[in-house]
């Protein structure tokens, strides 16, 4: 089904926008080609979720945000993402510009690049060009990925040189302060051979009334023996329709670990795909979500094995309340030749109300004999026997339910390496489930 998504943003607009940002010509042309492709490409087709009535067109494309000299100048709800002893490696994006950024000298001395995408296009155009929408995702994947490429207006570029190990997490907050500002955000993270990095991002908006759009693409490229740990908490308000596609490519002996808290309050399509290209590569995709109100969400976690001895582990846990509706698909795909690979997954949905709906679709697609694979899926209510056990120790029913729900969502919470972000995620969960 074709969906009309005529945008008020045409060739002329895109040209001017790109030139206004002083982008290299290749980037301008990349955008224009993508814009042309977008017209003819189909919308994504999430399984069992109708998106034809969703808002993909009503938004403002460019809004800048004020700079601040220190994190302390930010409002409390943004400050809350940062530990008391503030990390040295931080980028805060406010609407479509950088409000604050800092990178430790230790990292810059080692050749680490941690900057906003606009600056990266100025200072490291070749490096960006080498990886941008090539390996991990293609422009013509669907209409929204093409529009993403055409209208990109924010994001971050991370490059970790060979054998550089970054101990402290890199932290980014994408703050949509303006209620109508759409976010076409791109995170490109390249971990060169033998490097290690931990990255944590938060998306936040407060547009409960006004409509907007978030179109987010993340690309993680883990070259041979690199290790990337990627934590994310999405928390767009009811007014934002979100399309978020996080992609990873792991080469030989590389490891990518995703921990994603999907806490949006608006309609959401979320895709997380990791391609295990190299032999002995490893991916872990853990995602938890809470649905409430009448929001509709579709989550796909896919790990595709190309390399031999590759290992993939998917975990999706969702809590649904009110009239929320969510579809969870876990896809473990083993390509021919990916011998001795192991694809495991677990999808569980906990329903807290009569009106809520949740589907767990475990899918194994296996084109190789010499492999192991497994899946577990369940959809149900809070186990009365678990409640009984906790209550038999004096814990009230409400508190027992709270403990069980938090425990159920803990696989992602415990993986978030920044204490403040972990706390904030726990608070968001608390707010959403009560």
């Amino acid at each position: 089904m074709a969906v009309e998504t005529k945008l008020p943003y045409d060739k002329q607009y895109v040209t001017q926008f790109s030139e206004g940002r002083g982008e290299p010509d290749w980037m301008k042309n990349f955008r224009l080609e993508a814009l042309e492709q977008a017209e003819n490409l189909p919308m994504p087709k999430p399984e069992k979720t109708k998106i034809d009535k969703w808002n993909f067109t009503n938004f403002t494309h460019h809004v800048s945000g004020d700079k601040v000299d220190s994190i302390d100048e930010l409002p409390d709800e943004i400050k809350a993402f940062f530990n008391e002893d503030k990390s040295k490696n931080v980028i805060i994006q406010r609407n479509h510009s950088v409000a604050f950024s800092s990178v430790s000298e230790t990292l810059t001395d080692k050749g680490v690049i941690f900057t906003d995408i606009q600056t990266a296009l100025h200072e490291h155009p070749d490096l960006v060009k080498k990886y941008y929408m090539r390996d991990a995702i293609k422009v013509d994947d669907n209409r929204l990925t093409a529009l993403h490429a055409a209208l990109l207006n924010g994001g971050v570029f991370v490059y970790v040189p060979k054998n550089v190990v970054i101990e402290d997490p890199l932290q980014v907050v994408f703050w949509q302060e303006d209620d109508e500002a759409a976010l076409y955000n791109h995170v490109l993270l390249v971990a060169d051979q033998g490097s290690e990095v931990t990255y944590v991002e938060n998306y936040i908006s407060q547009n409960t009334e006004k409509q907007s759009v978030a179109n987010i693409v993340t690309e993680v490229v883990a070259l041979d023996q690199a290790r990337v740990s990627y934590g994310a908490v999405d928390n767009f308000a009811t007014g934002t329709t979100t399309y978020v596609n996080r992609r990873g490519v792991a080469y030989r002996d590389a490891k990518i670990e995703w921990a994603i808290g999907q806490m949006n309050d608006g309609n959401t399509i979320s895709e997380n795909v990791t391609n295990l290209m190299g032999d002995n590569s490893y991916a872990e995709a853990k995602a938890v979500s809470v649905g409430r109100g009448d929001q509709k969400q579709n989550f796909v976690a896919n790990i595709t094995h190309f390399g031999k001895f590759s290992e993939g582990y998917i975990l999706q846990h969702g809590v649904m309340k009110d009239d929320a509706n969510s579809i969870f698909s876990g896809i473990g795909k083993i390509e021919h030749g990916a011998m001795k690979s192991d694809a495991q997954q677990e999808s569980r949905v906990l329903m807290l109300s009569q009106g809520a709906r949740g589907d767990a679709n475990p899918i194994l697609l296996i084109d190789e004999d010499d492999v192991t694979a497994g899946h577990a899926a369940s959809v149900g209510r809070v186990d009365p026997v678990q409640l009984y056990y906790l209550m038999s120790r004096g814990i009230s029913k409400a508190e027992a339910e709270r403990l069980i729900i938090h425990g159920f969502l803990n696989p992602v919470v415990e993986q978030i390496p920044i204490e403040a972000v972990r706390k904030q995620l726990t608070q968001v969960i608390e707010r959403k489930v009560n």
Binding site: V385, Q386, Y388, Y389, S392, R393, L403, H406
Partner: protein
């Protein structure tokens, strides 16, 4: 806290429409240890679950009173707050909730709002009890019962018992699946609680637990009722002679609840 009394009067219990308990009578006073014995399938565990309020068990007749208060009218958490504790035969596994968070939540729930246990005091008490039960300290940070061996689960139940200090505890087959060393440790924990203010109902179908915990009274259950009561010597006789003599004495052919009386 003065000693409590648990009275079970003519208790009838069904599970999924089938009657398991057919009129149980028992009284446990603070300071007393009672053992309920009997072969499998005679309703012992049903008695434990019904006292605590397991959602699958329906009480159709009779009363359970704790110091005169009707326990059966209480929610499960209120029963715990009133002073009851059940060490379960099959404790639930709760993923993502650490043992120590759970223990602290339980202690605080029992102490009540505004009277929460200070964190350091909690840690000290937990550590001491874990040492006493020879439990590996990392069990505090493991998820509640998840991946615990049978023995670890039992020790963890007794750890909770020691920290929550109930007035009356029911121990449901706390000895099953334990090797002799674990059995000794678990018994040591239970014996430590012995005192005027603590009453205990020990459910077992092995006499060997009673080698380490001497009961004041022993009851035998068959066909969903207490059919015989006596002192510690009754347990000894059961160990030596089995249950057949009781069946003969009472004219029982099939001791399980399957048998309609």
């Amino acid at each position: 806290m003065a000693a409590s009394t648990l009275e079970i009067k003519d208790l009838h219990v069904e599970i999924e429409g089938k009657e398991i308990l057919k009129g149980v009578n028992l009284t446990i006073n603070g300071g007393e240890f009672h053992a309920v014995m009997g072969p499998n399938g005679t309703g012992k565990s049903t008695l434990a679950s019904a006292i605590m309020g397991h959602p699958k068990y329906e009480v159709t007749q009779g009363k359970v009173l704790l110091d005169g208060e009707d326990v059966l009218e209480m929610e499960v958490d209120e029963r715990a707050k009133a002073g009851l504790f059940l060490a379960m035969q099959y404790p639930s596994e709760i993923s993502g909730v650490t043992n120590s968070d759970f223990l602290r939540s339980s202690i605080n729930a029992l102490r009540g709002e505004g009277n929460e246990i200070p964190l350091m005091k909690f840690i000290k008490e937990m550590d001491e009890a874990m040492d006493y039960l020879e439990i590996d300290k990392n069990m505090a940070q493991r998820y509640l019962n998840e991946g615990f061996s049978g023995g670890e689960k039992k020790r963890n139940e007794i750890l909770q018992l020691m920290l929550l200090k109930p007035a009356i505890a029911v121990l449901d087959e706390i000895d099953s699946g334990l090797d002799i060393d674990a059995l000794k440790v678990v018994s040591k924990g239970i014996n430590k609680l012995r005192g005027e203010d603590f009453g205990c109902l020990i459910i077992t179908h092995y006499q060997r637990l009673l080698d380490y915990i001497t009961p004041d009274k022993v009851h035998v259950m068959m066909q969903g009722r207490v059919v015989k009561s006596g002192g510690p010597e009754l347990a000894k006789r059961l160990e030596e002679e089995g249950y057949d003599w009781i069946k003969e004495e009472l004219g029982i052919e099939d001791e399980t609840v399957e048998q309609e009386a």
